[in-house]
């Protein structure tokens, strides 16, 4: 499959304030690059992310959505990421069930100390989305205004 | 795969978990007979000196009694490393430490079968 080098995906990354957002900051202060296609939205906790937000992103043309939170067991609010994990597992499974490629959604646990991991994860995710190409499938359903 | 990786793969042991406490050598019942001591098995692998390890006498003195395995506080299992080195030697042609011809004079009336079987397993391809 030929990868369209011109294709610049739109990627929304939800990051929890305490671990993953700080991990992204550390990636920044360590100058660990990842593609500019990733735009981060800060949320207090991974459990704040409503499936509505993810569907909304797809509705509005996102090609991939990734959710990053504290490692299970390390949640600042002690249990938030456990709920997020169940919710996202079920949501992703449903998207998969409806024929949306499951590569377009991902959950990663990134701690405040894992700048390297953050950058690696983002590089990897962007690469994956690039290989999947534009979100044609959901694009078909999208209202092109 | 180089020899060091080979030992690590066969043994399934990560030598870098070792904190060099020497408990393996403290506990080994065959210690006095060994030229390279149990704690050194680990450092030989760390430094990649597999050639020397493969030439050591210790591997024919180890009893596979697992005292070093049981008591190691870091789960390094020096006994496994030595056995991996032994495997490398035995698997090479002519590396056998025991030949069939040697056996008859060594056997006495009471000798249990399992002794021969075990020795064959450990010493011979």
């Amino acid at each position: 499959m030929s990868v369209n080098q011109e294709f610049r995906p739109k990627i929304v990354a939800f990051c929890c304030n305490w671990c993953s957002y700080a991990g992204a900051d550390l990636a920044g202060s360590s100058r660990l690059s990842y593609p500019a296609d990733v735009k981060i939205i800060r949320v207090p906790c991974s459990c704040r992310v409503n499936p509505m937000f993810i569907l909304r992103a797809f509705e509005k043309g996102a090609d991939g959505v990734i959710l990053c939170g504290c490692h299970p067991g390390d949640c600042h609010y002690s249990t938030g990421n456990y709920y997020a994990r169940r919710r996202m597992t079920l949501l992703f499974s449903m998207l998969d069930f409806m024929g949306v490629e499951n590569g377009r959604t991902r959950v990663e646990w990134v701690s405040a100390a894992e700048g390297v991991k953050f950058s690696t994860v983002m590089n990897d995710f962007v690469e994956k989305i690039r290989s999947l190409g534009e979100n044609v499938r959901l694009g078909d359903l999208r209202c092109k205004k | 795969m180089n020899a060091k990786e080979q030992v690590q793969q066969i043994s399934g042991v990560n030598p870098y978990k070792c904190m060099k406490c020497g408990k393996c050598s403290a506990t080994c019942p065959a210690y006095e007979e060994m030229d390279i001591k149990p704690h050194q098995f680990v450092s030989y692998v760390q430094s990649g000196n597999i050639e020397a390890l493969a030439a050591c006498k210790s591997m024919w003195k180890c009893l596979s009694c697992f005292a070093c395995v049981e008591r190691c506080p870091r789960d390094v299992q020096p006994g496994r490393i030595l056995d991996a080195a032994r495997q490398i030697v035995v698997r090479q042609r002519g590396g056998n430490y025991l030949t069939a011809e040697e056996i008859p004079p060594l056997v006495d009336e009471d000798l249990p079968q399992q002794l021969l079987v075990s020795a064959y397993r450990r010493y011979k391809r």
Partner: protein
């Protein structure tokens, strides 16, 4: 409609070198709601903040977007700035164009484009921001210290000296903790009791300190500034007010076969007992498991001999409910059980002992009256072997993965004291590494070697074999000489790993304080907030947070006290206004939000609501703003969207998504 000002920071060249800041400001100006946009060298500088202030005044701004470094860096700065110039601090949003943009991208055009989008998302969010008011909650000016060891005592004394009431809850019949069991302390070799007892007396006599011994915390509710705690005061069977501490009851008690906890089971105590002579309070406790009166109904000797009439067999446990503003955990440690390490023959020979047991043997008030002797036959040992790192630094499940930190020093202490008092005794120490960071610590250890002739051997012991003649054959490694050595010893002392006290997990659960896999309580930040738990209002003192020696414990105890004092000094606490809130017209009252709330912040009440003219009683979720920490778990659980999070509302986050995907 908001009137938004956008401020793009150069951060010297940190941002400006990769992001065209002028372009970002220019593009921002085109966004809805934006009435002003500018860039500046250093937005966070005084001049930069003045610029923001001027713009607020001149353009009558209602919201700010600062495109700069991470909000984790300067969000607070710009919020304060906004407040100074009359704007609600929560009308500020940060677009992180440094850590998330200029520092990770090289291509100027690409970075600029991303910065524009990040600014756009922040603007979209501010358009939906609403002024938030930080709430207030009251502070009960009283602290609870759980644990009456040196950590708890020191924390309590420091808080009390600052003028606040403190209660100490101690599980055992006396305060004093582990330190009271020690004989001498390193590196000065002062007598432990001599320096601890005065502190115990101070605490007991302090008008601001109340001590509950033989008591345990049973229930904790509430939150920072306003905790409610149930304390179970176990029945002592002795009236504290009447007892004179004469000790006759203990002397006459016919049941004397219970292993003494204080002496680590090396000798026995009576059923009615005080753990040690200097116990505070000096009031005995009846151990109902051991007491003949409680077991058979007969006896009653203590009651007969007590002239003060203090014995009360009918006494019952008492629940005391108190309010506190702050809670300090100082639950300390114990040594690990050695039943999984029997290659050292601990369970097979009485002469293989732990270091803490040696402390009791060396102590004049101990089971041997301070004489160094073998517990098996009472003979004086001539050859003693110390084994370091028993159960510490073990990555298998037998032991603990961490270094217990105190063993190297106390082993040097023991070795030195023995060589000093009994010069004819040979002392050998098997060590893996000698770790002595600390003031005068390494000098101390070197003295043991150089002046006292303690024989240090690098290597671990593999087996201790009790011999028919009663000696102990110690088989160890000498890694320097590359030898296996065997020593015929008379006594073996194991530097046993320490672990947090058993009950701490239960206490952590009650406090919703986090705890690590080794049962140490987690600090809010490992470097910068070492005495605070991540749970507001809960502080850590001593070994419950990690292994430490006495000087470290005391300094941490003081630090915890200062944090408590800082909290109690406030009359009101401001609470985070970014909390959840339920829309009463949308709430179903289904209780699912309360199920996922980690803080128990959601309760339900029946309220009359007016839903577009229909008045009816409804079950409505109510969020306690002081308890809510703003995680948002409830918002997603709520199917109707009744529950929303202020500062991170559904509409704000969707606006950000839209702005990014536009």
């Amino acid at each position: 409609m908001q009137r938004i000002g956008v401020f793009v920071c150069h951060c010297g060249s940190n941002i400006a070198a990769t992001v065209d800041v002028k372009k970002v400001a220019e593009m921002a100006r085109l966004e809805p709601g934006v009435v002003f946009a500018d860039d500046y060298q250093y937005m966070c500088s005084e001049a930069g903040q003045a610029k923001i202030g001027a713009a607020i005044k001149e353009y009558n701004l209602t919201g700010l977007v600062v495109c700069s470094c991470s909000p984790r860096m300067h969000e607070a700065t710009f919020r304060k700035c906004a407040e100074r110039y009359g704007l609600n601090p929560y009308m500020v949003e940060i677009a992180n164009i440094r850590e998330h943009c200029s520092w990770i991208h090289k291509d100027m055009e690409e970075a600029t484009q991303k910065a524009v989008i990040l600014a756009r998302a922040a603007i979209a969010k501010v358009n939906l921001n609403a002024p938030l008011q930080a709430g207030e909650s009251r502070v009960t000016k009283r602290a609870l210290v759980i644990g009456g060891g040196i950590a708890g005592i020191q924390t309590a004394l420091d808080i009390a000296d600052a003028g606040y009431e403190v209660d100490i809850v101690e599980k055992t019949p006396s305060i004093g903790g582990r330190m009271s069991q020690l004989d001498k302390t390193f590196p000065t070799l002062d007598c432990s009791a001599c320096i601890l007892t005065p502190k115990m007396v101070d605490a007991a006599g302090h008008e601001k300190i109340k001590i509950y011994t033989y008591s345990e915390v049973e229930k904790v509710s509430g939150f920072v500034g306003d905790f409610t705690v149930d304390i179970r005061k176990k029945a002592r069977s002795v009236d504290e007010a009447k007892c004179t501490g004469c000790g006759v009851c203990q002397e006459k008690c016919p049941s004397k076969k219970t292993p003494s906890e204080f002496n680590r089971g090396l000798n026995n105590r009576s059923a009615i007992y005080t753990p040690f002579a200097q116990a505070i309070p000096n009031v005995p406790v009846i151990d109902r498991e051991a007491c003949i009166k409680f077991k058979t109904g007969k006896c009653g000797v203590c009651e007969k001999v007590c002239q003060a009439g203090a014995i009360n067999y009918a006494q019952e446990d008492e629940i005391i409910t108190e309010k506190y503003g702050a809670i300090v955990v100082a639950t300390g440690f114990d040594t690990i059980k050695l039943d999984k390490y029997d290659e050292y023959a601990y369970s097979q020979s009485k002469d293989v002992i732990t270091s803490l047991e040696l402390e009791r043997i060396m102590n004049a008030a101990g089971p041997t009256k301070g004489h160094l002797e073998r517990l098996s036959d009472g003979k004086a040992p001539k050859e003693i072997v110390f084994v370091q790192c028993v159960g510490s630094r073990c990555s298998d499940e037998r032991g603990k993965p961490y270094c217990s930190k105190i063993c190297c020093m106390y082993t040097a202490k023991h070795a030195m004291l023995i060589r000093d008092k009994y010069p004819d005794v040979n002392v050998t120490v098997f060590y893996i590494d000698v770790r002595t960071p600390g003031k005068n610590f390494d000098e101390f250890y070197r003295r043991a070697v150089e002046e006292y002739g303690v024989n240090y051997i690098k290597g671990q012991v593999g087996k201790v074999a009790p011999q028919p003649d009663g000696s102990l054959l110690v088989q160890g490694s000498d890694l320097i000489d590359n030898k296996q050595i065997k020593i015929k010893a008379d006594m073996v002392v194991l530097a046993t790993a320490i672990e947090p006290n058993q009950g701490v997990r239960n206490i952590a659960t009650m406090l919703t304080a986090s705890i690590d896999t080794n049962n140490f309580l987690t600090e809010a930040h490992p470097k910068l907030r070492p005495v605070e738990s991540p749970t507001a209002g809960v502080f850590l003192s001593g070994v419950c947070q990690g292994p430490k020696d006495i000087p470290e414990t005391v300094s941490q105890a003081g630090a915890a006290a200062v944090k408590v004092i800082g909290l109690l000094a406030k009359d009101k606490l401001t609470t985070n206004p970014c909390t959840a809130q339920a829309d009463e017209l949308l709430c179903n009252g289904c209780s699912n939000c309360a199920k996922v709330c980690p803080y128990g912040a959601i309760t339900y009440e029946t309220r009359q609501v007016n839903d577009h003219g229909i008045r009816e009683d409804r079950r409505i979720a109510v969020v306690n703003k002081a308890l809510c920490q703003g995680c948002g778990a409830c918002t997603v659980t709520c199917p109707s969207g009744a529950m929303d999070l202020q500062g991170f509302s559904n509409r704000q986050l969707i606006a950000e998504v839209d702005a990014i995907c536009r």
